[in-house]
Subunit: 121 residues, 2 copies
DNA sequence: TTAGACCTGTGTCTAAGACACATGTCAAGT
DNA sequence: ACTTGACATGTGTCTTAGACACAGGTCTAA
């Protein structure tokens, strides 16, 4: 992707004509980036990881700690989506059985305005 | 929020001094917007719904059809997150037991580069 | 030689706000 | 009356991770 090149994650050497030349290194780096993106590392994370490894250090500890963070975030979002999904499907089924109403000065749509999640006791 | 005002969803009358005056209508409209956002309607959806209701029509059919769409999207994202979560936690536990390795010319971090999701048979 | 197919970097767009900023206005204290 | 500090205003920029477009350069085949 040109995007990664723009960010400086890839630095392809230009051949004489101006076209990019993709060395083995660039190719494997791109693969690395894509693998990392697949695991939900952010581009900033990846930058950090690459920097670490360019200093000759092992990036593994950093990688472990980052995945822990990202996993927690994902878990939170997952729970949020779970709740949202429940709320939405509850709304959908409620609304199927409610009649239409015309809007009023203070109400755009009663379906939404009067929707209350049925609490799970 | 000033954001909604910027988008023209709220049109508060300015009082003489330049401060906004929030009529009942504006207040209830803001509440409507927030309720709709809670149900994962996009701001564009909300705009559409409001337009419909400003024409005097009942927005209910539109609302029902939109929530259906949004719910399907949410379901997809939910499944994606479920898979992602599994992948990430699998990576995490795998990596806990693997040793650090220094980077090489073609490898940034072997944890990521060699990670393969264990397929569920 | 030239047409068409490819490549280049760069600029703008996305969603839903968050944050900052210069300016404007108010109430209270001196 | 004047000033200070606390709020309000609209507007501009920033965020993510790219997608798309565009003007221009370069290659290959006819």
């Amino acid at each position: 992707m040109r995007y990664y090149t723009r960010l400086g994650l890839l630095k392809p050497a230009k051949s004489v004509n101006g076209y990019k030349s993709y060395s083995n290194k660039e190719v494997s780096r791109l693969k690395f980036i894509l693998s990392a993106r697949n695991l939900d590392f952010s581009v900033a994370d990846i930058k950090e990881i690459i920097n670490e490894s360019e200093d000759g250090k092992s990036a593994c500890p950093l990688v472990r700690s980052l995945i822990k963070e990202r996993l927690e975030e994902t878990e939170k979002q997952f729970q949020a989506m779970l709740a949202l999904r429940g709320k939405m499907s509850s709304a959908l089924s409620q609304w199927e059985e409610m009649e239409d109403k015309a809007p009023t000065a203070n109400m755009v749509c009663h379906l939404i305005e009067n929707f209350e999640q049925i609490k799970k006791a």
